[in-house]
Amino acid sequence: MTAAGAFNQLVQLLLVVAAAPLLMGWVNACRAWLQNRSAPSLLQPYRMLRKLLHKDAALAENASWLFRFAPYVIFGCMALAAGIVPVLATDLPFSRSADVIALVGVFAVARVFISLAAMDVGTAFGTLGARREMLIGALAEPALLIIFFNFALISQSTSLTTIVETLAHREFALYPSLAFAAVAFAMVLLAENARVPVDNPATHLELTMVHEALILEYSARHLALIEWASAIKLFAYCAIGIACFVPWGIAGAGDWGALPLAIGAAVAKLVIAGAGLAVVETVSAKMRIFRVPEFVATAFMLAMLGLLLHYVFEV
């Protein structure tokens, strides 16, 4: 591990953790514009976090240690995920210790802990949210893994940095399998980040909420950490999509000259991704909860199809 690599790693991790709420603010602003509302400030998520951190935590009387411990674990998992995904440069020494399978595992750890915490107090909504979250996750997680397998087969590696380097530095070629993987990934992104049409991040309507039901009992700093972790998760997913499907512009290892370009490219791509997300959320309607498994299963099957197409056309 070189000093430059370690530096790059640390800077990127902190940058992602710090910038994640900004992306959330951008998506919210775009949604507001598309819906003919006047948009909140881009910094609104930061103000929200600051307010929550200042408040006293109100904890249910029967909440156990698991309930108080979970927000830190979830935040830790998401920060770790932010450290694995190449955003600016592929020179990430830490990415060696966790490949894409471990990355999916990290998301799974966070999901398991948030669901367990939701069941801890024993409220009707908490368990309902946990059930729905695990249901969506049980189908979305394998779909994400299969999407990654598509890349692993093309680049002969399950390490995310190697995948990005292989895809960014090849001559232009069309991979039919990746078209399927891209559609599947977009669907998984919507499902995993509690966006419309799977879940509505702005609702507190009891019968339809998933993510909000999970965190209903949380307040103050615990809630702040979970919301922040969700923002990092959205950022990480967007970054994964960018790194895998449009990797051009990400600086290679040790290539410091390419960094300004990489920053510009990353910002531009994230702005477009956030706006695209807002458009998708605006034009689609929230699904009934029992349509969601179908939606995620479609993503799973599309990813599988991509895998088979790889063997048919690309080997």
Binding site: S97, A98, D99, M119, A138, S157, L216
Partner: protein, 670 residues
């Protein structure tokens, strides 16, 4: 005799004799149950530790055989300790050490004087498993195998006054013997007509390819019946819950693994060559077994039954690795075959540890609160904090979450599956990723199932009075579970070391080692093939996550404050929260039942809208009973009735039958 002159094999035999002796001592002192629990189980646990240590050392040593002065005249017992046996002895020793220690606390409350008998069966069961693993001839193998089946049968039927348990025991014994017959026939084919039943003779026998396939199929059926592959799994979900919890832990954690041992021993050691078609068959069965196991586990509301279905699932995962290894070995890719085999073996070890832990946890819940039905539990984390924590470790491990041990073996299996482009056969290499997809789905569903289990059992509000009055279990039980939980963490964090230890097995069975591939192995990075292909470092992973969590905790405290106020739950402002408003185990898994409805046979009774006392009833049943077992049972009964017609109950008639038979034989047989 000094320590230097005792060979590992002699120590193993010593441990076996010691366990047998413990059993005899236990039965000789029926009036003193406290001796059994205070001394005999801890002594057994100590012997288990010793066995694990010997196994660990002996994996790296050259093999050593012995002829015991026991058995029939001209038919002595052959024993042998090689890398494969040593690895499985390590599993047996490590798991049984925790389980025996736990038993010291678990059986201490028994009042009805069966403590001595249980202790005898328990230790003879352990000894017979060790003998299976070191047997080097078919004769000793079958004797030990049958002793194992019988001692575990008596353990399963410990509470034989309950009719369901007697039925479960009967089904277990029946399928165990169908399997034993298949194994016996398999050895019959393998020995190739020389009349010599030592494994050495079988290794030398030059078996024609067709006969090798027949032997393999017989082994698959025979050992598959013990391991619980679909459709021979039906005894498992009945027998595991019937037995006392430490015994369930042994059955699921260790005994199923002897079947994996037998399968590997026969295919890789005794059979002359490997055909990839076998691997394909194993892979298909494994995928079906995996998905079937986890889907039915999700539907269970009896904790131990649920865990039993997860054993079916995990046997499937082990066999996915084994099947991949057979395919690669059969097509001439030794490195990939080694990877698949080590993935299977690592998962075998991991499953023994975390499933043992989970069954002990289920036993602790039963012991501490008297409950085994998920519908009556809840909130036990508040009265049984230690058990809850240890169970959580096991639940995270079985859900294949990093950085615990279950993740490592699934990671290795995924890596083995992703190397399928190396194969030349087009259909074959595109089928293998389907197995990886099934494994991914099973892993995610397992996580859902264990969120259900942990949430319903330990979290939330207590659903019954027993759950409120639950007590933490004794220190022996905590120690036993703690040992297995520590192993879960250790095997999760140090896979590089463990795979290095396991490498001689690959060298012995496949003449190939992971180190040949050129992927330089480093103590920190797990790189099974090459560093740029895939790497995983659980230690770095774990350190980073711990650092981030601690840093976050410290930052939040330092920059803001840690003020906390305890109030009523919020629950969207609805008042009058009670325990019945929580999700039940059935409710939690209901969406899965709906999505995968075609898999299940569901008996649903929904009340009429005008019913004054409405009752809702849904039961999920196993299709295989109706598809396979009931028709066979009916056919057997039908044949018996036909044959029964010639039974008239008069001696003269029976003598006439003998007379006719002899005439017939004289006429046609020379």
């Amino acid at each position: 005799m000094s320590a230097a002159t005792v060979s590992p094999l002699e120590v193993v035999i010593g441990v076996v004799l010691f366990w047998l002796a413990i059993g005899v001592v236990a039965i000789l002192r029926p009036g003193r149950p406290e001796i059994v629990t205070r001394f005999l189980y801890p002594l057994g646990a100590f012997a288990g530790l010793l066995l694990a240590a010997v196994g660990l050392v002996a994996i790296g040593l050259p093999w050593k055989g012995m002829v015991l002065p026991l058995g029939l005249p001209d038919l002595p017992f052959h024993v042998r300790l090689d890398a494969l046996s040593a690895f499985f002895l390590l599993i047996l020793g490590a798991a049984s050490a925790g389980i025996s220690c736990y038993s010291a606390g678990y059986f201490s409350g028994e009042k009805n004087g069966t403590a001595g008998l249980t202790c005898l069966q328990f230790h003879w069961f352990l000894a017979s498993m060790a003998l299976v693993l070191i047997a080097d001839d078919a004769y000793l193998f079958m004797v030990a195998w049958e002793t194992m089946a019988l001692s575990s049968y008596f353990l399963v039927t410990t509470e034989h006054h309950v009719p369901q348990i007697r039925r479960a025991g009967f089904v277990y014994l029946l399928i165990a013997h169908v399997g034993a017959i298949a194994i016996l026939l398999c050895f019959g084919v393998l020995h190739g007509g020389h009349g010599n039943y030592t494994f050495d003779a079988m290794r030398q026998a030059e078996l024609p390819s067709d006969w090798a396939t027949i032997a393999f199929l017989l082994a698959l059926v025979g050992f598959g019946a013990k391991a619980g592959i679909v459709p021979l799994h039906v005894w498992l979900p009945d027998a595991h819950p019937a037995a006392p919890s430490p015994v369930s832990a042994l059955l699921s954690g260790v005994m199923l693994k002897t079947a994996i041992y037998g399968l590997i021993r026969v295919t890789y050691d005794l059979l002359p060559s490997i055909h990839w078609e076998w691997g394909l068959l194993v892979l298909v069965i494994a995928v079906v077994t995996t998905l079937f196991g986890v889907l039915f586990a999700l539907m269970q509301h009896d904790l131990k039954r649920l865990l039993a279905y997860h054993s079916v699932e995990n046997i499937g995962i082990i066999l996915i690795g084994f099947g991949l290894s057979l395919i690669y070995a059969g097509t001439g890719h030794p490195l990939l075959a080694v990877l698949g085999l080590l993935a299977a073996l690592y998962h075998t070890l991991n499953h023994a540890i975390f499933k043992g832990l989970l069954f002990l946890g289920a036993g602790a819940v039963l012991h501490g609160s008297g409950l085994r039905d998920l519908g009556r539990m809840g909130g036990l984390i508040r009265v049984m904090p230690v058990t809850a924590f240890l169970f959580l470790v096991g639940a995270l491990a079985i859900s294949a979450l990093p950085p615990l041990n279950g993740f490592v073996s699934e990671w290795l299996t995924f890596q083995a599956a992703l190397l399928s482009p190396a194969l030349e056969h087009g259909v074959l290499r595109s089928i293998i990723p389907l197995a990886a997809a099934a494994l991914a789905l099973a892993g995610a569903l397992t996580a859902m199932c264990f969120v259900k289990v942990f949430g319903v059992v330990f979290l939330g509000l207590p659903r019954s009075g027993e759950a409120v009055q639950g007590r933490e279990v004794s220190q022996w039980e905590q120690l036993g579970m703690g040992w297995l939980a520590a192993l879960c963490v250790l095997l999760g964090l140090a896979p590089v070391w463990m795979l290095g230890v396991m490498d001689p097995i690959a060298l012995q069975l496949l003449d190939y080692s992971l180190t040949y591939s050129g992927g330089a192995s480093h103590w920190l990075w797990l790189t099974p093939v090459a560093a740029e292909r895939a790497s995983y470092s659980p230690i770095v992973f774990f350190l980073v996550i711990v650092t981030v969590v601690l840093a976050t905790f410290w930052l939040v405290r330092a920059l803001y404050h840690g003020r906390l106020r305890r109030t009523d739950p919020w629950d969207c402002g609805f008042p009058g929260l009670n325990a019945r408003m929580q999700d039940t185990a059935e409710g939690f898994a209901q969406p899965i039942r709906q999505i995968f409805a075609p898999v299940y046979r569901i008996e649903l009774h929904q009340p009429d809208p005008f019913d004054r006392t409405p009752r809702y009833h849904a039961e999920v049943r196993d299709r295989f009973w109706g598809l396979i077992y009931f028709p066979i049972a009916e056919a057997a009964a039908f044949c018996s009735r036909l044959i029964g017609r010639i039974q008239v109950g008069r001696v003269s008639i029976y003598l006439m039958y003998s007379f006719v038979t002899i005439l017939f034989l004289l006429a046609f047989v020379r």
